[in-house]
């Protein structure tokens, strides 16, 4: 009973039945009235002698003055004729089988040429206007081709005037209405079923698709169609499924990447340990140190992944406050200067005086810069230079890390911030910067985005790469707070 098609069918049928019922009742009432009206006024030509008599009267008198007498007399004559029940009289000749109970009299109304009532036998309301019913049934009285008055003759309105034929007519009318009700009821059911099916079918399809998605079939989509509301739900469903599919793909890629990245340090660890057990390697501190390095690499990978996952989920704890970015740049550059010197790379910082304060977490900004600098150092050979600079722009403050290293091929440029992407298909080997996790730039990107800033890279292969990122100004913090 709870199904949509059942409910719709019931609603349709109910509406149909109510409408039909009202029509039936109204028809029954009005039809009887109309029929009686028709009967009471029908066959006006029967009164032709009276009309002629009235015309003559008018002709003789020149007005309707004293016509009441004539009409009263007419009544008397007619009553006598009725009592004789001579069915052949012109006046009642057509009313076969109808009897007028004693006392019932024929209504007579006479008006002048303007329609004003002069004589009204029943109601005695001279001066009134004809009712629309009376007007329709009125007979013109003409004298010399000119209408001088109108006569209305009506039989008494009584149910008794309905004979068996007329009764039959009403029976038929009721039968037709009943048949119509049944037909309409059947049509209502059929229509309800058909209509609700078209209405509920897309809902059913949605339910099936939703279950499929719940069972991890993320490629499932539904046809967008039907009414606007259903189409909108279908559209929203498809968008949801697409988002889930994309998230699933990202997750799979990440899992594959993680598995891949963990494999290398793991294979070294496992292999070296086995070699020690197998007496292929001697057990000494140098060997242990190599293993230790591999475990540290693994630990860093796990830390970096966690950081990225938090940033992606928007759960990174950020201590955002007005920050002097030049201070952060100075300390980070100072921190990495010894490493750059050891590698014979010139590391310089160019920060103008009076940089505006930015809305940022200084530790996170230091981390972004550190990751960019390590990346630059990894790809810059001895004799190269790395320049860190900052300028105020419309957006806020833009920080730039430019190196004179290997550079990135144009086709690779869009991928530099992707997880585990490396410029070299093989792991980049640089004696000073062994085994990066491949996540440094991804983390830098996530952190900059968490600040509401932008990060991008430019590069010329063989000439060097330039990484830029922006941070919002401290006084525009409301916007950046939303972004985090």
């Amino acid at each position: 009973m709870n199904r949509l098609w059942v409910r719709l069918t019931l609603a349709f049928t109910l509406i149909t039945l109510v409408t039909l019922g009202v029509v039936a009742i109204m028809a029954n009432m009005r039809a009887g009235e109309a029929f009686r009206f028709y009967l009471s006024y029908r066959d006006p030509w029967r009164y032709e002698p009276l009309v002629q008599a009235l015309a003559l009267y008018y002709k003789n008198h020149g007005s309707w003055q004293g016509v009441e007498v004539l009409l009263e007399r007419w009544q008397e004559v007619e009553t006598i004729l009725q009592q004789m029940t001579g069915m052949s009289q012109p006046m009642v000749g057509r009313m076969r089988g109808m009897t007028f109970p004693g006392g019932s009299r024929v209504q007579l109304v006479l008006t002048d040429a303007t329609g004003r009532v002069l004589y009204d036998r029943m109601q005695q309301h001279p001066g009134r206007r004809l009712t629309p019913d009376e007007a329709a049934a009125a007979i013109d009285i003409e004298v010399g081709g000119k209408v001088v008055g109108r006569l209305v003759v009506a039989l008494p309105i009584q149910s008794a005037i309905l004979g068996p034929i007329e009764q039959r007519f009403f029976d038929r009318l009721r039968q037709v209405l009943l048949a119509g009700a049944i037909l309409a009821g059947v049509l209502g059911v059929l229509l309800g079923v058909a209509f609700s099916r078209t209405l509920s079918a897309p809902l059913q399809r949605l339910a099936v698709a939703a279950r499929a998605v719940a069972n991890r079939d993320f490629s499932r989509r539904v046809e967008v169609g039907g009414s606007a509301e259903i189409a909108e739900v279908s559209q929203a469903f498809n968008e949801m499924a697409a988002a889930l599919e994309q998230a699933e793909q990202l997750r799979k890629n990440l899992m594959a990447d993680v598995a891949h990245e963990l494999r290398t340090p793991l294979s070294v660890l496992q292999g070296n340990l086995q070699a020690i057990l197998d007496d292929v390697y001697t057990l000494d501190k140098a060997e242990i140190a190599r293993l230790y390095d591999q475990t540290r690499l693994l630990a860093r990978l796990v830390d970096d992944l966690r950081e990225l996952a938090l940033a992606d989920a928007g759960q990174l704890h950020m201590n955002l406050q007005p920050t002097d970015v030049s201070q952060v740049l100075r300390s980070t550059v100072a921190h990495l200067t010894p490493a750059a010197e050891a590698q014979e790379v010139k590391l310089t910082l160019q920060v103008p005086e009076g940089l505006p304060l930015v809305h940022a977490d200084s530790d996170r900004i230091a981390q972004v810069l550190h990751n960019l600098l390590v990346n630059a150092l990894r790809h810059t050979h001895a004799g190269g230079a790395i320049t860190v600079s900052a300028i105020a722009t419309n957006e806020g403050v833009e920080i730039t890390v430019a190196d004179t290293g290997e550079g990135i091929a144009p086709e690779d440029l869009p991928f530099v911030f992707e997880r585990f992407w490396r410029a070299d298909p093989a792991r980049s080997r640089n004696e000073h910067w062994p085994g990066g996790s491949g996540l440094g730039l991804s983390i830098a990107q996530s952190l900059v985005k968490a600040h509401g800033g932008r990060i991008w890279a430019e590069s010329t292969l063989g000439k060097g790469s330039t990484f830029h990122f922006t941070l919002p100004l401290a006084n525009a913090q409301s916007a950046s707070t939303k972004a985090t």
């Binding site: 891949h260 494999r263 070294v268 496992q270 086995q274 292929v280 093989a426």
Partner: protein, 242 residues
Amino acid sequence: MPQRILVVDDDPQIVRLLRAYLEKEGFQVFVAYDGNMALHLIRSERPDLVLLDLMLPNRDGWGVTRVVRGDANLAAIPIIMLTARVEDGDKILGLELGADDYVTKPFNPREVIARVRAVLRRVRGEPLLPKVIQTGPLRIDVDRHEVEVNGQPVHLTPTEFSLLRTLAEHPGYALTRLELIEKGLGYSYEGLDRTVDSHIKNLRRKLDQVGGPGLGTELIETVFGVGYRLRPETRQVKEGQQ
């Protein structure tokens, strides 16, 4: 004359590890750290087998394989691919390009050695695995699941046979209890170490029953703190060979 193996990997630790194992097994080893160096050594040294990592600078492993297989003089050199990539598509591509085998990281160096031996045997038209392993009085017929000591049959349960065969396939190497479980019993579950001990105990007892007291302990040695190993002087016997 020792067989000559070229090891190609950009990770010096991996190269060092494989080299140490291969040399211990009596192979002569050359090493290369990138694709071009590998091709150069393949051309100049004509190794008996190449252990090739896929992710290499300059020219990746697939590129090297393509060149080697496309050169009539080099095409016969067997190649075992070595990589952290685990996608099936990569394996299929590698094998389609003509790699003879595929080892994924993290790998067990002993297994790499076993694969190297297997590929070399296959190239020489020998069966993949020794059907019969013999060490001292012990003779294991792998196909028939039969074990004999001095020609006398030893009746072992499938688990005991599996453990003994696993030990015999890595003669001279100590296997940890966990390795024995994984390789011999076919599943990995911590806390079953003692189960291995009881199986080994039964195995030794049965060897003693047939071959005399002390034989079991003599053949299956306990390596203190590590696990068990089969007595090193094992010989792999295929009629008329070695």
